[in-house]
Amino acid sequence: MRLFIKSVLFFALPIILIGLTLEILLRQIPNDYTFKRDGLYKHADSMQVLFLGSSHAFYGINPTYTHLKSFNAGYISQSLKYDAEILNRYIDNLKELKYVAVPISYFTLFTNLESGSEAWRSKNYTIYYKFHTSNKITDYSEILGSKFDINLKRFLSYYISAHSAITCSELGWGTSYQSKNSRDLEETGLEAAKRHTVKNLSDKDNVAIYNENIAMLDKIITLAKKKDVKVVFYTPPAYISYIQKLNDEQLTKTISTIEKLTEKHNNTIYLNFLKDSSFIKSDFYDADHLNEIGAEKFTKMLDSIIVNDPKTY
């Protein structure tokens, strides 16, 4: 029996050592999550507006153009659960906070990070933000949480080629979606609408996700109310090729849900920019993401409304 245990340990030792080394080294690589986490502390004393949300906020809101001091804590596929977690974690430190802005996109109420194709990103919230909301072991490790080739590429890119993994500005705006690299708007409109449309809204799992998201919105509103902070919900602009392919039922349910919610809570407003005609082809990176030109335009537009402290749009 002892011989067996000895042999197994001897065989496993190099694998465990390599694994541990890789895990430690991967965690040392600065990334967008650590950058945003640190940014939330760094700008805590002056931050007046906190932008949360998914890639629509990450690429669409550039805090450089706001009158009030703001920070973009949104990120790719960040669902409402993580928005609520971020707010819950940092709101006590944000003494000057006046507004929290949360995008309510076509898919926001019907998806979560854990059940989508980007589920592997959930590990970043447990490892770097230290949110212990996941019960998956793989969410607590870099090497177990994503594919080996992806980790290897990250490792080589940082340690060998000395490339930075940071893709956002000082204030958290995503800098990768530039107009010079814009994608085909027709094609991406079709693809994104298909990807964002839920097959059956009354399906048990989808209903559970919807209810969970409503609970998260309530949590955000309650947290904000306690600190006398206003919550600005908004639907970001999208290109016509995307809008035309959306499912009416899903879109109507999204809008009516958020409208009802804002009617119920006096510290909230809802702004719908989805079909805003001032956004033209050259503002988009793809059919549902703004590029740097669109982000500037949209941020200024949102900022002017926030500054005027509106009750309705």
């Binding site: 011989l3 042999s7 065989f11 072991i137 594919k147 048990k204």
Partner: protein
Amino acid sequence: MLFNSISFAIFLPIVFVLYWFVFGKNLKMQNRLLLVSSYFFYACWDYRFLFLLIFSTLLDYFTGIKMYEAKSTKMKKWWFWLSVCVNLGFLGVFKYFNFFAASFSDALLLLGFKANPAVLNIVLPVGISFYTFHGLSYVVDIYKDRIKPERNFVDYSVFVSFFPLLVAGPIERATHLLPQIRQQREFNYPKMVDGLRQILWGLFKKVVIADNCAYYANMIFNHSSDYSGSTLALGALFFTFQIYGDFSGYSDIALGTARLFGMELLRNFAFPYFSRDIAEFWRRWHISLSTWFRDYLYIPLGGSKGGMWKKVRNTFIIFIVSGFWHGANWTFIVWGALNALFILPLIIFNKNRNNLEIVAKGKQLPTLKEFLSILLTFSLTTLAWIVFRSENMGHAYNYISGIFSRSLFTIPEILPIKTIVLVCLFIVIEWLGREHQYAIENIDVKVPKFGRWAFYYAIVACIVYYAGAEQQFIYFQF
């Protein structure tokens, strides 16, 4: 808890250490530990269905004893049918209710009546087909006076619920597994190493071969109308290796895991894709299910006795039932019927037991005749897998018609060289190890320690490289 998950990688060593180091000298405690860990393993899927498993176990345990103690044949029969009806009833409700309701409604529609079938919104309890068959074989064996009932409830429950075989087999027999559960197990170093080696090989088959092939098979099958005949043919080949890597990989992990606890499970696969005819294929593919149907359905129906017509009828019955066992879909039934059709000439000309030994035994390569026979059998099997994999019969028909078009002779739109090389390498390893229980079983005899460990590390590296999102095992749905 999947075999290829981190949770299982933590669960298994804990149970192993407790089993040998804490309860090593106490058989009763070892069996209790196996039962508790098996129930924990099952509850990780869905704890609600654990009650169904326990109920099914209790039912067969008590009906087994009642049958044995029955004072009249009538009473014995009564207990027997109670068990059979309840077991099949559960299977019927959970697995087939919606299928029958929809098929009945379709049939009425053909006659001009419109009906809205009642649909049960229920989840299929994982492993129900497997543990129901375990229980059924036990009850039938007692009814036929082949075995005596097990009086120790823990031992019987371990027979039904032993975690390596609980969710996807092999489908065990009481005559094979129960004596092993009752008997004191000794720690055997070579067997433990062999168990780990088989687990490693099973993981390789699943993570490297099956999951890689699954990626392309899914892509091609899900958008089959977009692809050329050659791509569709390639997609069918990918699925052929996916299902083999997936299910035989699972079986290897199950057998290896059971060996770590001193138990030998029934062999489930014996290099089926090297078969020279369909009859041989079915002696080598999902062996525990084929033999179950042979012993509990084919032989009671009369088997090969009673003339050609009866033989053909019985063959069709077991293949169609076998197809239906896989799931409530016409594709599975047609897949079963196709296999029956393929085997028919061998039955009629009494050639179904021609190839009992593994091909080219003791030789490096097969003869040309053997090679062509393997190729023909493999092609027929692949054709049947297309039906098995398709969403419905319309999809299967379009897929097969798509293959047999002019575009069959064009370069496929999807040509993943890395995956094809991996599959070829896998075939070579399987060919070299075809005379053993599993391909790399004999490596410790043939290769010195340094080379052996280097080979194991290479397999581990491949598994780590390709491991990603845990993929479900195909047979968990059955």
